[in-house]
Amino acid sequence: MQSERKIPAGILVGIMAAFILGIGGLLIIGLAEKSRSGLPLLGQVPEFEFIKQDGAPFGLADMKGKISVVDFIFTSCQTICPPMSGNMQALYDQFEGADNIQFVSITVDPERDSLSVLQEYARDFGVDDDRWVFLWQPIEKVVWLSEKGFMISARELPMGHSSRFVLVDPQGMIRGYYDGVDDESMKVLLQDIRKLARES
């Protein structure tokens, strides 16, 4: 007789259902935790149009589809710019074979940094392709792009420019900020570029 069974079938079905729900729950909690451990979405880079060192235009459209590392420098700077550009060069060399990763340096001293000066600066850092570009525009637009576009300080330019590197994903979304003169921060940036490359 069914009523005499030690443990009724309904209980076993319930335990099975709980087990299946538990596996499903574990999977979803895992997915949610994984999604949060990804790089945050910090803001969208706005439309902009600057000029590359070779005179060609460069804007948001040229950042779409690629991972970009952006910084603000000026060529006659003798303090933080050499190590910043040195770190950028190390990344440029490291990702030599990766067409989907580019480096963007924007001059904060457009009066002195003409396109030819920028070209020479690029050569000094061994730039021989389009993976590392140097951008120029009048100072008002540089301030706007720095403060409104990449959300980093642009007071008392050129000397007061930020040492930050900005990581931008292929959708033009800012995903992280790093100290361009700090080795530990550069290691984190390297990991994050790889993480972003896997994500995209």
């Binding site: 069914q2 009523s3 443990i7 009724p8 309904g10 209980i11 319930g14 335990i15 709980a18 729900l21 538990g22 729950g25 574990l26 979803i28 909690i29 997915l31 949610a32 935790e33 994984k34 999604s35 949060r36 945050p40 979405l41 910090l42 803001g43 969208q44 959708q171 979304m173």
Partner: protein, 315 residues
């Protein structure tokens, strides 16, 4: 008539699944996966990429996985709303004059509609703990109504079911006490959870043990009451199984269910304390509690079928 009972049972099981999914949304942190309501990021279907976000929405809020977890919860919620609507329509059609089926069916429909709206308030309040707790207690009330409707329609089909059972005299009293204390325990549990969430937000580096310590007396009251409920349940279950006669399959399975659930709840509660409050176990802790309350409700209704003292035996 049989179709109605099957439909009501389906609604009950589906609501329990939704309680599980709702708990999953909370423990996975997906409650604000869709920051607006009823739409998700301004769309009826959540965006699949950032490029689909409306310009007035902050893109840093977007997380594809969390948006779809919350959206799935809403989809299942709507489906259950439809199931309960059909149950209410069938009740009007088949049991227009049977108040004990018609009224709870309509009440479940009104409450599920309110629950949908209240879910929106939960999102708008940015997951204010009180709103989340109201959402959960409402779900328990809805599922209790559905259980009641299912059981009563079963008894209408089989008028003699559960009438011949002979059981210890104070069983009904113990069942009603367990049900009431069970609800109080769930409310206490929501207080513990609220404290937990507030502490985790303010002090994200605290360990599980430190968090429990900071929650204070409500945590200990919850734990002690849990042990008391477990002891009473096991004793009551054992007494019913040993001293009763002519128990139906429904009652026997429900008593076993009650015992298995409370033992499982004890184990989960213990592991929660030892293992530092892991998310999946928090989810099961809540879900088992809701199942326990449902089973106690079934038993109380079943034991009420047997009227008069001549069938009861002394306990």
């Amino acid at each position: 008539m049989k179709n109605f009972r099957r439909f009501a049972l389906l609604s009950t099981l589906a609501t329990y699944t939704l309680i599980f999914i709702g708990g999953l949304v909370r423990v996975s942190g997906a409650g604000l996966g869709c920051p607006d309501w009823p739409k998700c990021f301004g769309r009826w279907f959540p965006p699949t990429s950032i490029s689909q976000l409306p310009p007035d929405i902050n893109p840093s809020q977007f997380n594809f996985t969390l948006a779809w977890i919350e959206y799935f919860n809403r989809l299942v919620g709507v489906t259950i709303g439809i199931l309960i609507f059909i149950t209410a329509v069938l009740a009007i059609k088949n049991y227009r004059k049977v108040n004990k089926i018609l009224i709870p069916s309509l009440a479940a429909l009104v409450l599920v509609a309110y629950q949908g709206w209240q879910g929106g308030q939960v999102v708008e309040s940015q997951l204010k703990p009180l709103f989340v707790s109201i959402h959960m207690v409402l779900a328990l009330i809805i599922v209790s109504l559905l259980i009641f409707v299912t059981q009563q329609s079963y008894y209408l089909e089989k008028p003699e079911a559960d009438r011949g059972a002979i059981f210890p005299r104070r069983t009904r009293l113990w069942m009603s006490l367990l049900w009431i204390v069970g609800i109080i325990q769930v409310i206490l549990g929501t207080q513990v959870r609220e404290g937990l969430e507030v502490l985790r937000q303010r002090f994200p580096l605290l360990s599980g043990a430190e968090i429990r310590e900071y929650i204070g007396p409500v945590n200990y009251v919850h734990a002690i009451l849990g042990i008391v409920i477990a002891a009473v349940t096991i004793l009551a279950g054992y007494t019913i199984l040993m001293k009763s006669r002519n128990l139906s399959g429904l009652i026997r399975e429900s008593v076993w269910g009650m015992i298995v659930l409370i033992v499982a709840q004890l184990i989960v509660g213990l592991v929660l304390v030892v293992a530092g409050l892991p998310s999946l176990l928090q989810l099961f802790h809540l879900w088992i509690a809701s199942l326990f309350i449902g089973v106690i409700f079934v038993l109380y209704s079943a034991f009420r079928r047997q009227t008069g003292g001549d069938h009861a035996i002394g306990a």
